[in-house]
Structures are given as structure tokens and as C-alpha cells.
Symmetry: C2
Subunit: 227 residues, 2 copies
């Protein structure tokens, strides 16, 4: 697949003409990343944004003592690091490749020029940022208002998606990463995972999870039920 093909499959660029996609392909920087590679660090000056082409990237903050809080994990097609493109100058968090992969970088100035010519692109970007704000609001709710069992239940329901009938989930991050995403430590997560299994809420084997009691899980997520 050439670069234009890759770009045309990125949801953010939906609605752009062939000519505009070709224009984008001329400004893109095609990067290969290895597992554990830092893509940018919190506080770095940002002069463009990124889209994951293959692999996975985490966005995270680290405390003075070294405790990590994951804000997002992004996969193929998802943009990241766009905050300094439009507001402020520095990255508000750090990013690191979770596995070997490929990442496209779009420099700010060329991209802003394209937005000015193309309101469709701006609307797509507004949708991306709105979705991210929504996700952040629920992460804040999880951290502030829920205990860890409620956070885990809410995350499993998020993975399941809305309106789907399936009870089978695939956890595509490690347990350690999940703990950091939920603002806890692996030991606590394991203990709660065990309690949820024993309580008949879920069954799991490796990274495969089966929801056994959807209503119960919703109750845990809402705080109506306690483990």
C-alpha cells in the first residue's frame, strides 16, 4: 500500500478529495517505531501531530515518584498528539510505542493551511477532539467517583461497546497496562479480577473475557452493587 492509500483509510481524513489526499501524502513523515520507543515527552514542543498506521501507542503521565497513569491507548487509524497543534505549544503528556509499528507525522503549518481550505477536515477533527473529551470525562469520573471494581466494570462495558449483542471481549493490552489505565496497581487489579470471576460476573482465559452477568457488571460500574 502506498502512502496515499494509508492516508485515505484514516477516518480523520474522510471526505477529502483524491487531490487533497495526495497533498497530504507530500507533507507526511513516515516513521518506524520500536517497542518502548518514546515518540514525544510531556513538555516537548509540538510542531505537528501523529496518526498510528500499525502497532499501538500509549499516551501517559508519570508522577514524581514514577507512578504512571495511562490516558489513552491508540491503534491503527487513530490520531494523537494533536493538542499542541491548535492550543498551546507543548505536549500535555508523553507517548510511547507499545509494540513495533508505523506512525505518520503531519507538520502543523502545512496541515493548518489544509484545514483553512477544507472545513470538512475541521469538522472531522472537532469530532475527534469531542470524542476524546467525552472519554476523558468518563476517565475522571472513574478515578474520582468510582472504586477500582467499578472502574474495571466500566472499562469492560466500554470495550464491549454500546448496542452490541456480543458477550465475548478481547483484552488487547497487558494486565499491567490495564492497571495503569484504571489508576491502580497490578496486584489490586488481579485481586478484583479474581473476585469478579468468583462472583460470576465474568469468565476469562488469557486475554479472552466472557461477560456472564451483564446487568451485574452494569450495577458494579454504576456503584449500585459492591463486590
Amino acid at each position: 500500500m502506498d502512502i496515499v492509500e494509508h492516508i485515505s483509510s484514516i477516518p480523520l481524513f474522510e471526505g477529502l478529495s483524491r487531490g487533497e489526499l495526495e497533498e497530504l501524502s507530500l507533507i507526511v513523515d513516515d516513521l518506524t517505531v520500536v517497542k518502548g520507543e518514546a515518540i514525544f515527552l510531556e513538555g516537548d514542543d509540538g510542531n505537528g501531530f501523529y496518526v498510528v498506521i500499525s502497532g499501538k501507542v500509549k499516551i501517559f503521565k508519570v508522577s514524581w515518584e514514577g507512578k504512571e497513569q495511562i490516558l489513552h491507548i491508540f491503534g491503527p487509524g487513530e490520531p494523537f498528539g494533536e493538542v499542541p497543534v491548535f492550543g498551546g505549544k507543548q505536549f500535555p503528556a508523553s507517548s510511547e510505542a507499545l509494540e513495533k509499528g508505523r506512525v505518520f507525522f503531519f507538520p502543523r503549518e502545512d496541515f493548518s493551511a489544509l484545514i483553512k481550505k477544507n472545513p470538512e477536515l475541521a469538522l472531522n477533527l472537532l469530532a475527534v477532539l469531542s470524542k476524546r473529551l467525552r472519554r476523558f470525562a468518563s476517565l475522571i469520573e472513574n478515578l474520582s467517583l468510582k472504586e477500582v471494581p467499578g472502574r474495571l466494570a466500566a472499562y469492560l462495558l466500554y470495550l464491549r461497546g454500546s448496542g452490541k449483542e456480543t458477550a465475548e471481549l478481547e483484552l488487547d493490552i497487558s494486565k499491567g497496562q490495564l492497571a495503569s489505565l484504571l489508576g491502580t496497581i497490578p496486584e489490586t487489579l488481579s485481586r478484583i479480577w479474581g473476585k469478579m470471576s468468583n462472583g460470576g460476573f465474568i469468565e476469562s482465559e488469557g486475554s479472552r473475557i466472557r461477560i456472564m452477568d451483564l446487568q451485574g457488571l452494569e450495577g458494579l460500574a454504576e456503584g449500585e452493587i459492591r463486590l
Copy 2:
């Protein structure tokens, strides 16, 4: 002041022509709110967004047990409730007037049409949402990675702003609201407030605060120093 004057002083609409401002004034809904009035509730369908003209509005989530977490407090000129305009349909949090005031409501469809004609407006909105994402990232960091003293110190430094020389701050929300914003309870906040005063970090009288030890406060916010 007529509606066009008010609209022209909203930073979001910077760069719009007189004609476009007049167009906006025709679609706006001019609302008066009283203290404690709910403007929208989490889960409500959103069909437009709001801008505070006078007074203050809080955006918050409530847990099943009634514990509240404030996400934002917005004052004159600041937009809120814009997430459902661009992504998803429902408000991700609730909003309530903290005092008597005036709020403009802009219906989604007319506004989207205006964006399509005016990329400047889209760029302004992208800047607003980016700033909000940045603020959320630091709120998540506060809740997840910092103890309450560090959160309070970080908030005071945020109030002070960057690059300013002033050591005098005015806390424009109540202590109860501040506790909710920092994800704690008023009793804990009072205790820590006392410790910070006794430790020589701040002096306060009513809502006026004076930073006495800036470096110490930065150390607390970073987690290098403990109270």
C-alpha cells in the same frame, strides 16, 4: 449592550465579520438562569452549545452515592456543552448555574452551517477543545498521581497563571466547590489549607490568597516536597 455586541466580545468568535456576527445573533437563544438552576443533565440529548455571558456555570459528574466531581467552572465569554455538537449525541456531564446570570444558546444546525463557511471559526473551536483536553489531562494527573496537598498546590499555581509576577490570588469559588474540583471533601481541604498556611506556603484572608513560598508550592505540586 445588544446581542451582537455581546457575541463580538466572545473569544470563540474572534475573526468573524460584522455580517457573520449578525447572522449568529439571529440564531442565538438568550437565557436567564438563577442560582442552582440545571442547564442540562448528563445523558440529555444536546442540540446546541452554550456561552456564559454573565455569572458562573459548573460542569460536573455525580456518583451513585451522590458524591460530586466538578470538571470545569466557566465564566463570562467561555463556551460549554459543545461536545454533543460534534461527537455523539448526549451531554457527557451535567451543568448548573452557580449564580444568577445570562447564557447564550446556539443551536447545532445553524452553527454547523456557519462553520462550514468559516474555517476561522473552526480553528478557534479546535483551540478551545484542545485547551480543554490539556486541562483534563492535568485534572487526571491530579486525581490519579497526586495527593490532595499536591492537587491544591497545582490549582493555586494554575490560578496564578504562567509568567505572571503577582503573588496575590483571588479564589472565585467557594471552598466546597474547590474541594469538589480537587476530588476531595471540605474537611480534608480545610486541614490541608491550615497546614499550608502554617508551613509558610500561603497566607489567606477570606477569598484572598498570597503565595509566600512559590518554590515550595511548586515542589508540593510536583510531589518533591510533602506537607
